[in-house]
């Protein structure tokens, strides 16, 4: 019994220690004012858990941009990075913490559309500009006038890739394959279907799969038997790579047009030679012939030892859009920053020319890429 008592005491002490650690952090919210505009910007990202790969790229991109901006000296940004673990409750708690404890002027993130659906309304109600860098689902910026995004939604990317592929390969009949339990792949599929119908393509089959599935032979056999001209596939890269490998192995050699989820070097890593001929539309192309892109890629590689992916690039641009708006607003004020952000037009970043439309959504032209010789190249 004595031992039990001691264990309980230890647990209780640990509990109190945690609580006070939390309280200690919460108190520091002072924000000095000087000649350069000083501002605290919050970041909500996935640092632990299943989507941590995305979160790492995003925070890396933001940190790189922060170092560059702070080095110039006219805006000094204090970043507060919070983890959401990819969970809505955590994203909401993180948003509350940034808004109320850290008193940030704006938030970049969260990573997933689901998380934005929860954190967005809170930021909007509190009058804090919030910008998603990887939230591509429908209805994100419609949450409210403080909600922005610079991630190209599927509804703009997919028509570009399908349009080009249809023209080039004279596609008439298609099969659709998508993951139906993920917001991202589901809304990508909705767009694919819409576009296919608009282009009057014959849809031979619509097949579904679930996240983390390992065997797609049932769906692929059915698709192969219908002999489509192309397969439109909405998947994330882990599933997408496997799908490609299995499709090619069973002799389905037609072009694959993928959603944004396919736009990762990991697809080629997983599918190897089977990835040849995959077509994707993407806001980000690392081998683009643009000095801005080259400089960013070089700096990123030097800092983190690998090439930046789309998520790093979008986050990098988002930070610049945010700080440019801060400069335009002239002061770290949430409402003024919002108005300045909403007025962003023709910003030239690593993703190309970028503007917000009247609904604070993205206006830009995506690159259409095809996998050739084991890497993404421009598709004409």
């Amino acid at each position: 019994m004595k031992r039990n008592g001691r264990v309980f005491a230890i647990v209780a002490c640990a509990l109190f220690a945690f609580v006070f650690m939390g309280a200690e952090k919460a108190k520091k919210a002072a924000k000095p004012k000087g000649e350069p505009i000083r501002a605290k910007i919050g970041v909500i990202s996935i640092i632990t858990g299943a989507g941590a790969g995305y979160g790492e790229a995003i925070t890396n991109g933001i940190k790189l941009a922060r170092d560059e901006v702070n080095a110039k000296g006219d805006v000094l940004i204090d970043l507060k990075i919070e983890d959401s673990s990819g969970k809505q409750e955590q994203a909401l708690a993180a948003a509350q913490k940034l808004i109320n404890s850290e008193k940030v002027v704006a938030i970049i993130g969260p990573t997933l559309s689901n998380e934005m659906m929860v954190a967005g309304p809170e930021a909007n109600a509190s009058g804090v500009p919030i910008m998603g860098t990887s939230t591509t689902a429908k209805g994100i910026t419609q949450i409210g006038k403080f909600v922005f995004r610079n991630s190209l939604p599927e509804s703009q990317a997919i028509p570009a890739s399908i349009g080009k592929a249809v023209k080039k390969y004279n596609i008439r009949k298609v099969a659709l394959l998508y993951g139906n339990d993920d917001v991202f792949t589901k809304s990508g599929f909705d767009t694919m279907k819409e576009v296919a119908e608009k282009l009057k393509l014959k849809i031979l089959a619509i097949e579904e799969f679930q996240k983390g599935q390992a065997d797609y032979k049932a769906q692929l056999t059915k698709i192969a038997s219908l002999k489509p001209d192309a397969v439109f596939c909405s998947a994330l890269y882990n599933e997408g790579g496997v799908i490609l490998a299995q499709a090619r192995k069973m002799g389905l050699k037609v072009p694959f047009v993928g959603g944004n989820g396919f736009n990762s070097p990991k697809v080629i890593e997983i599918a190897k030679g089977a990835a040849e001929g995959l077509i994707v539309a993407t806001p980000w192309f690392a081998d683009k012939n643009d000095p801005k892109v080259k400089a960013f890629v070089a700096k990123y590689e030097k800092a983190y030892g690998k090439k930046p992916d789309q998520f790093a690039a979008q986050a990098y641009d988002a930070f610049y859009i945010m700080t440019n708006a801060l400069k335009a607003a002239g002061t770290a004020d949430r409402a003024k920053l919002r108005d300045a952000l909403a007025a962003t037009r023709n910003f030239h970043g690593v993703l190309g020319k970028f503007s917000f439309d009247a609904e604070r959504d993205v206006v830009m032209t995506p690159n259409v890429l095809i996998v050739k010789g084991g890497k993404f190249t421009i598709f004409n």
Partner: protein, 313 residues
């Protein structure tokens, strides 16, 4: 009123919702049944409340009530056949139920919106603020900002719900029903021989647990204003189970404490975000090694009461 931080209130609100979920698994466990379907029942409650309020403009309390009752009814339906099973078989069957429900939520797109989920669910606090605002009330008269008021309102509602729930089940445990539950948990055949209608009480406990899960789910929907099938996966079921395993499943304060503690830990450890879930896991492992019955057990409660130095948790 600076100290009243919506962030802290938010975490406290999730603690309370999780505490209700903890009680929900405690109730089924108190008859010796291991159910992993609580995430599914929570989903029923959450979706019912969410859809009623977004598509049919039903008042929030009615939606919450309907969600709880529907989850409870589903509990009876699932409970009657499932309770022919026991132990690990029941756990697997209820886990299956949860996954089936998730698949239904994903595929019944016309009703549930599929994987995209239900957005723009009226949030309790904001509705109360709007309602009070129409009657000339402004939170400034209490020295509060509106976001403080919103979070405080949500917190107080949840606190009331949690206290009532815990009080009800504390009272229940000292009633005829509670004693029957305890008898069934200790020895089913002996309880049956003593004239306790075992099936009746088992189904009752099971549907009480389901009703509570649905209640927590409905509150969750109106606290976060967004639900999607991803919220009610087996991860959630296991999380709920861990509340009871960690806190202790022999007394109602066990899961309540477990839920509160395990919600606070990841938040308090935010400063070391890269490692916090490693610590969380380590904590659970240590727990299993040093105190497999959970933090709080009746012996501990008795000791605390006798020494009179305060109450736990």
């Amino acid at each position: 009123m600076e100290w009243l931080n919506p962030y802290h209130l938010q975490v406290a609100s999730f603690m309370l919702i999780n505490a209700i979920l903890g009680v929900s698994i405690y109730v089924t466990l108190s008859t010796g049944q291991l159910s992993l379907g609580n995430a599914g029942f929570m989903g029923i409650g959450a979706y019912t409340a969410a859809l009623l309020s977004t598509q049919h403009q039903v008042p929030i309390p009615v939606g919450i009530l309907a969600g709880s009752l529907l989850a409870g009814a589903a509990g009876i339906l699932v409970g009657i056949p499932a309770l022919r099973l026991s132990g690990v078989y029941l756990a697997i069957a209820t886990l299956g139920f949860g996954e089936v429900l998730r698949a239904v939520l994903i595929n019944w797109e016309s009703l549930t919106g599929g994987a995209v989920g239900v957005a723009a669910i009226p949030q309790m606090g904001r509705v109360i603020l709007a309602w009070a605002g129409d009657r000339g009330f402004s939170p400034e008269s209490l020295g509060l900002q509106s976001n403080q008021f919103i979070s405080l309102a949500v917190f107080l509602i949840l606190l009331l719900c949690t206290i009532l729930t815990v009080a009800f089940f504390l009272r229940l445990s000292r009633s005829r029903v509670g004693r029957a539950y305890a008898a069934i948990r200790l020895d089913e055949s002996a309880a049956s021989a003593a004239g306790i209608p075992v099936t009746y009480y088992k189904v009752l406990a099971f549907s009480q647990g389901a009703l509570l899960s649905g209640f927590a789910g409905a509150l969750f929907a109106h606290a976060t204003s967004f639900v999607s099938p991803g919220d009610f996966t087996y991860h959630r079921a296991v999380e709920i189970l861990v509340f009871a395993v960690f806190g202790g499943s022999e007394h109602i304060f066990g899961p309540v404490f477990g839920a509160a503690f395990l919600t606070v830990v990841p938040e308090a450890l935010r400063s070391i975000s890269d490692y916090r879930y490693i610590l969380y896991g380590l904590l659970l492992v240590l727990m299993m090694v040093f105190r497999p019955q959970g933090v709080i057990d009746p012996a501990l409660l008795r000791r605390v009461r006798r020494s009179g130095k305060g109450t736990p948790a």
